[in-house]
């Protein structure tokens, strides 16, 4: 390395150190409010005052003895599972149509599929409310699920497009030269190649749905999803620790799910 190279290297290292410090400072600030919440889950008291008077795992036990809470989590699980599967199927279809077929309205289809990213949730919620009311559809977990398919769709389409853009059609054509019909070529050649991306897209749609509140508040019927139930309970300081304990459990489960998905992806 030349002398000038050495000279220009020093300020670079110094900025690196500043950036490193900045990263950890910001990370600490991002974790501070969450860490504070986590303290509630193990704090023996319902209010937080330092020093903590005692540590307890009772709140986690209270989670199990609060049926309404468990029920709402189950509802969220069902809505997220159903809506993410539908969104993944529809979205993968849109991505395949967009990269493999030329047809009028191709761009319109893509535009409409990602439009829910741009439409403010409060507007989408109001519009769906109008639709369901006009056709006398009662609000329920199904109406929430439909809304969640809609907001999961853009994520699936974008993830699957990114995967398919680099995937040459020659591979399917080769399969068809060897006698496969087009659906068979899709199933045996394309599907295995894009399956990991579909899992990633599905998990994204799942997490988006599971935590979604703005649409659910408008569209939920008598059975609440977890965020809607949580919102109703946030007024009461006495149940806050139980809610947070539940959130900790859910976060651990999400983390486990993502690690599992990563494993699956690697094995493939």
């Amino acid at each position: 390395m030349t002398a000038t190279g050495v000279v220009r290297h020093r300020p670079l290292r110094r900025t690196s150190r500043w950036l490193w410090a900045y990263y950890w400072l910001l990370l600490a600030l991002l974790f501070l409010p969450i860490g504070l919440l986590a303290l509630f889950a193990v704090n023996a008291n319902t209010t937080l005052s330092f020093p903590l008077r005692g540590l307890t795992l009772d709140w986690f036990g209270r989670v199990l003895s609060t049926p309404a809470l468990l029920r709402s989590a189950g509802n969220s699980l069902a809505v997220a599972a159903g809506s993410s599967i539908v969104a993944t199927l529809l979205g993968t279809g849109v991505a395949i149509l967009f990269v493999r077929f030329r047809f009028p309205g191709r761009w319109l289809l893509l535009g409409l599929s990602v439009l829910p990213l741009i439409v403010p949730f409060v507007v989408l919620a109001g519009a769906l409310l109008v639709l369901f009311r006009a056709f006398d559809v009662d609000r329920s977990l199904l109406t929430v699920g439909i809304a969640h398919v809609m907001i999961g769709l853009p994520f699936v389409v974008l993830i699957m497009l990114a995967r398919l853009v680099g995937f040459e059609p020659q591979v399917e054509e080769a399969a068809m030269d060897l006698g496969a019909t087009y659906p068979t070529a899709l199933r045996l050649v394309v599907l295995p190649a894009i399956a990991p991306a579909m899992v990633a897209a599905g998990l994204t749609a799942f997490t988006v749905s599971f935590d979604e509140f703005a649409l659910a508040l408008f569209l939920v019927g008598r059975e609440p999803t977890f965020p809607v139930y949580l919102f109703g309970q946030l007024r009461f300081t006495t149940t806050l620790p139980v809610m947070i304990a539940m959130a900790v459990v859910l976060m651990a489960a999400t983390l486990g799910l993502l690690l599992f998905a990563e494993r699956v992806r690697r094995i493939r």
Partner: protein
């Protein structure tokens, strides 16, 4: 949409696919297309059209599907009541502030992860995204605990003797809404900037240093301009959902931190004046789509590569 057009593809290299292949592709085409078109038509286009139609209805009396004499009275009253449009502008202002602060704070983060963190970058990025896996409502709730009168910040201020009385100005206003939203969006905003920085060709930086550009000049004249698409992407990624936000102001905004989305929510829930709420929604939707189109134009990479 003619089926023959539908399956017309780019001219194939080599030979044309046989008729049987085209037939098979046609079946697949419709099988993929029909469900998603039906879904989008019924649950996205139809509701938005119905909402736009409802905004021309005088009131909510009678079945929704019954025809009515269209009126523009809600639009007229919007024009005559400046407070709604002022609130829309305020919400846009909050969104600009939140998006600008978030992008600014996220840039060094993205720069560090993309160009300086080396092999640990992936792990450090995951660490940054962990807060995302906590319930959104609880993350907002956490800021109530931070900023409230008995909150962390006031405890620290009181404990160090900086103030005698707890500050009540920290919570339930535009300030707390802004702080909370910036907090929520920072990790997300870092992603597009990172992607743009990772695409910067190191050879271009080498060329700059060969021409005696100092590290600072390299950053200002090479790295920063090349990362602008990511910066603009991050800005709008935060701006667009923030304009229509109603949950965060509902929780930490109080009365003075109310945003336009809260008014829409009120007209659909408490006030049950859906036609007026629809009119407010249409106005916001049109404004948001206009901004989104501007954003898509702005991210056009060529504009930043060419002088």
């Amino acid at each position: 949409m003619a089926a023959s057009e539908a399956v017309a593809r780019k001219p194939p290299r080599g030979r044309r696919p046989s008729d049987g292949v085209v037939g098979a592709r046609r079946g697949t085409f419709w099988a993929l297309l029909l469900p998603v078109v039906a879904f989008l038509a019924v649950f996205l286009v139809l509701p938005l059209v119905m909402m736009a139609a409802l905004s021309t209805r005088a009131d909510l009396r009678g079945p929704l599907l019954e025809p009515w004499a269209p009126t523009l009275k809600h639009y007229v009253s919007l024009a005559e009541t400046p407070s709604y449009l002022r609130l829309l502008l305020t919400s846009a202002g909050i969104a600009v502030l939140v998006a600008a602060l978030t992008t600014l704070l996220a840039y060094p983060l993205a720069y560090f992860l993309a160009l300086r963190a080396g092999s640990r970058a992936a792990l450090l990025l995951i660490l940054l995204l962990v807060p995302f896996w906590t319930s959104y409502l609880l993350r907002v709730m956490a800021w109530k605990l931070m900023l409230g009168e008995e909150g962390v910040i006031n405890s620290i201020l009181m404990g160090t003797g900086l103030v005698d009385q707890p500050l009540s100005a920290l919570l339930y206003n535009r300030f707390s809404v802004t702080v909370t939203l910036v907090y929520v969006w920072i990790p997300f905003a870092a992603l597009p900037i990172m992607a743009a920085l990772q695409r910067v060709d190191p050879a271009v930086l080498d060329a700059a240093s060969d021409l005696y550009a100092s590290p600072r000049q390299q950053f200002r004249h090479v790295t920063l301009p090349l990362s602008m698409p990511g910066v603009i992407g991050a800005f709008f990624l935060v701006f667009i959902p923030t304009v229509g936000e109603y949950v965060t102001p509902l929780m930490v905004g109080g009365t003075s931190g109310t945003m336009y989305g809260n008014v829409i929510q009120d007209f659909f829930t408490k006030a049950a004046n859906w036609p007026f709420g629809s009119m407010l929604s249409v106005v916001m939707l049109v404004a948001t789509i206009a901004v989104a189109i501007l954003a898509l134009r702005a991210v056009d990479i060529r504009r930043f590569v060419e002088p």
